[in-house]
C-alpha cells in the first residue's frame, strides 16, 4: 500500500481479490491511499469492531449479532463511491493490522473481533458467493457427487431434522471432510459421520473457513509485528507511527455514553450512584465486587436483584457483571457459569411460571 499526501487523489486499482464483496485480506493490496483516509477508514472499522466486542460482552444471541453486524457495517463502512467500498474495507483492515499487531493482548482482541466479523459477513453472503470464497480458500475438500448424495441422503436429512431445522432450508451441497477437521460440528452432532468422514453442509462450511481465516490472520499478525518493529516503525516515525500508536490506545470498552431516562440507572452512573445512594449493605457488596472481582452466590443474588430493582436492565447487568468477573475468572467461564444466573434474575431462564 502506498500512502500519499492529501494533495493527490487516490487512484483506483483492483485489489486483485476475486470476489467484490468479501475480501480475504491475504496480502496488502497495491493501492494508493490518502493520509487522511488512512486514519479515517481505520477509525470507522474500529467502530465496527468495538460494536462487535460490545455485542459479544452483552451476551447477544447469534441472530442478534448478525443484525448488529449488518447495521454496524452499513453505518460505518459505506462510501459515496460504490467502487471505493471494497478499498475502504481492505485498507482499513490492513491499517488496523498495523495498529493491533504490536502486543499479545491487542493481537488477541483484533483476531477475535475480525474472525467474528468474517464469520457473520460470510453467513450473510449468497450461496454462490460462499462457494466462490470456498474455492478461493483452497481447502482440499470436494463436494460429493450426486450418486454419493443419493446413498446418504436419508441420513443427511435426519441430521438436519435432529437439529430442529426444517428440510426445506437444507441445501443439497455437501462436502466430505475428515471428521477431525470439524471438531465443533462433531461435538454437537450436527453432521453425519461415516467411516471417519463428516458430511458437512454448505451452510456449515463456515466453521472450516472461519478456522482457516483465523489461523491465516494469526500468522499474518505475527509477521506484521516483526516487520513493524524491525522496519516500519522507524521509517514512518514522523508520519504513520503516531497515528498507529494513537489508534490503539483509544477506548476499547463498551460504550456507556448514552444516558438513560430518570428512574433507571445506567452503567455509566453506577459508580457514582453507589457512593451516593446505595444502602450500606449494597455499597459494601458493590465495593467488595470491585475489589475482588468476585462475589459468592448469596452476594451475587442480593446485589443482582437490587440492581434490577433500581432499574438496571438485563443487557447492562450482563455487561457490568461480565466486566468485573472476567478479570478474575475469564470471559468464557463467565458465560458458562455466571451468565445464566443473571438472566434467571430477570426471568429469562427457568420454568417461567
Amino acid at each position: 500500500m502506498e500512502i500519499v499526501g492529501s494533495r493527490r487523489k487516490s487512484s483506483l486499482s483492483s485489489a486483485g481479490d476475486a470476489f467484490p464483496t468479501l475480501p480475504l485480506y491475504r496480502s496488502a493490496p497495491v493501492l494508493e491511499v490518502r493520509l487522511e483516509d488512512f486514519e479515517l477508514y481505520a477509525i470507522h472499522r474500529l467502530r465496527v469492531l468495538k460494536g462487535i466486542s460490545d455485542g459479544l460482552s452483552r451476551g447477544k444471541k447469534p441472530n442478534e449479532m448478525e443484525n448488529l453486524i449488518k447495521d454496524l457495517w452499513k453505518v460505518n463502512m459505506m462510501h459515496s463511491e460504490a467502487a471505493e467500498v471494497i478499498n475502504k474495507d481492505i485498507i482499513s483492515h490492513f491499517v488496523l493490522r498495523l495498529v493491533y499487531c504490536r502486543e499479545e493482548e491487542l493481537r488477541r482482541w483484533f483476531l477475535s473481533m475480525e474472525t467474528t466479523l468474517f464469520r457473520y459477513r460470510f453467513q450473510l453472503e449468497t450461496p454462490e458467493a460462499q462457494r466462490a470464497l470456498l474455492a478461493e480458500f483452497d481447502l482440499p475438500y470436494k463436494a460429493i457427487n450426486n450418486a454419493e448424495y443419493e446413498t446418504v441422503k436419508d441420513k443427511l436429512n435426519q441430521v438436519v431434522r435432529s437439529t430442529g431445522q426444517s428440510l426445506s432450508s437444507a441445501d443439497t451441497v455437501y462436502y466430505k471432510v475428515p471428521f477431525e477437521q470439524v471438531p465443533e460440528l462433531v461435538a454437537t452432532r450436527r453432521v453425519y459421520i461415516l467411516k471417519g468422514y463428516a458430511y458437512v453442509a454448505m451452510n456449515q462450511v463456515n466453521s472450516l473457513l472461519v478456522t482457516q481465516y483465523r489461523s491465516n490472520l494469526s500468522k499474518a499478525l505475527v509477521l506484521t509485528n516483526r516487520k513493524w518493529t524491525s522496519m516500519i516503525r522507524e521509517q514512518e516515525k514522523d508520519r504513520l507511527t503516531p497515528i498507529v500508536e494513537a489508534l490503539s490506545v483509544s477506548y476499547l470498552g463498551p460504550d456507556y455514553s448514552q444516558s438513560k431516562e430518570y428512574g433507571e440507572i445506567s452503567l455509566k452512573d453506577i459508580d457514582q450512584v453507589a457512593k451516593k445512594s446505595f444502602p450500606l449493605c449494597m455499597r459494601h457488596l458493590f465495593g467488595k465486587l470491585k475489589e475482588d472481582h468476585h462475589l459468592k452466590h448469596g452476594g451475587r443474588m442480593q446485589l443482582g436483584l437490587f440492581l434490577k430493582g433500581v432499574g438496571l436492565n438485563l443487557d447492562d447487568a450482563l455487561a457490568f457483571w461480565k466486566a468485573e468477573f472476567s478479570r478474575k475468572v475469564g470471559a468464557e467461564r463467565f458465560d458458562k457459569e455466571y451468565a445464566y444466573g443473571i438472566r434467571h434474575n430477570y426471568g429469562k431462564e427457568g420454568k417461567r411460571t
Partner: protein, 451 residues
Amino acid sequence: MVREEAENMNTDMAIDGVETDRKRNHEIPDGFNPNYLKIYYGRFFPYGDMHKWMSYGNDGKHPGCDQSYFGRREFSFSLDKDIYLRYQSFNNAAELENSIKEKCPFKIDIGAVYSVDPANRNAYSGANVFTPVEKELVFDIDISDYDDVRFCCSGADVCSDCWPLMTVAIKVIDTALRDDFGFNHILWVYSGRRGVHCWVCDGKARRLNNEQRSAITEYLHVRKGNENSLKKVSLVGHSLHPFLGRSYAEVLKDFFEGTYISSQNLFSDEERYEKILKMIPDESITSELRGKWQDNKRPRDDINIVRWGHLKHVLQSGKHKVPSIRRCVEEIVLTFTYPRLDLEVSKHMNHLLKAPFCVHPGTGRVCVPIDPEQCEQFDPLTVPTLSKLLEELNMGALGPPGDEELENTSLGKSIKFFRSSFLHPLLKSCKEEIESSYASKIQRSKNPLNW
C-alpha cells in the same frame, strides 16, 4: 503364612485319598494378596505381548522404525501404602519386566508417549520440551455411574441383572467407533470390578489432539444437566441424529423393553415408576397413567411390560403434538440405558488408564479383554482370578516357557483372543504404516524440487 503351612503339612501326611487331599490342598483363598501377585507377575503377566503392543511396530528392523518409541511411553505404578510412581519409562521389554517383577505394583497405568523419555524428563532444558505426542483414544465406563437407574446393586457391586448395561454400552460405543469414526483397532477390557475400558489404537486415534478427543467424547455424550434437572436426556428436533437413532433402534430399545424393565422391576414398584413419570413434562398424561396403575391389578403378563406398553401408547398416540412429548419415549430409554462415559478420561492426552492384564486389588480378578462381538456372553463373575490361576499353577497347568505356556490356564483364552483379534492385526497395520510413510519420505527427499 498359616494357610500355606497347613497345606504343606497335609501333603506330607497324606497317604490315602490322595486325590481329594490334593484338591483341598490346592484351594487358595479368593481375593487378593501381595504374595500371590508376585507369583502372577512371575509366571502369568504377558510382558512380551504388552511390549509388542506398546511398540506399535517400532521394535522391528525396518529403517523407518523409531527405536526410541517404546522408551518414551509413560507407565505408572501404584505400590502398597498408597505410594504412586509416575513417569516410569523403559527402553525395552526386559526393563519393563524386571521393574514390574521387582516392584510388584498393585496397579499399572499406561500414559502417553511423550516427546522425550519420561524418566529423564527433567534432563532436558527449555519449556515445552516434555509434551505428549501420541496416546490411544480411551474410554472408561463404570457401572456405579448408573446407580440412579439400577436397583439390584449399588456402588461397587455388580450382578447379572445390571451387568447387561455394560454390554449394551460396549455395543453402542463399539459400533460408533467403527462405523462412524472408521477406527479398526479397538480393544475392550474388563476393568476388574465394575466396568469396562476401551482402547482405540489406530494411528489416527493416537495422534488426535485434546480438542479432537473432546469432540468425539461430546459426540458420544448424551446426558446433560445436574441433580436439579428433571430430565437429563433432552432430545429436541424432529428426529434423532442417525447415530442415536441407530443406537436406539438396534440395541437400546430392545434391551430396555425386553430385559431391563423386567429385571429391574421398573414399573411394579411405585417409587421406581414415579421416577419415570417425572420425566414426562405433561401433568395430564402422568396423572392418567398414575391413576391406571394405582388400582394395582396384577395382570397375567409381566406387569412391567404391560405398563410400559400403556406409557408408550399414551405418549405416542399422536394426540399430544407438544414438542417436549415428541421424543419422550426415546428420552426415557436413553436415560436408563445409554452409555455413561467418564468424560475426563477421554478428553486429555496425558490421562493415565489401567493396563490390561492387571489384577484388581479389590476382587483378585484379572483385567481381561472382552470380545465386543461376543460381549453378551461375557460374565464378570467368571473371569480368571488370582487364586484360580495359582491353583492351576500348582496343579501343573503351565506349559514350558514360550508363546503357548499359558494355553492351558484360564488366562489362555484371553491371551489368545488378545493376540489374534487385536494385537496381530494391529501390528500388521502398523508395519504397513511404517513402511509406507518411510517410502514416501524417501520419495520426497529424492524430489529435487521440494524444499
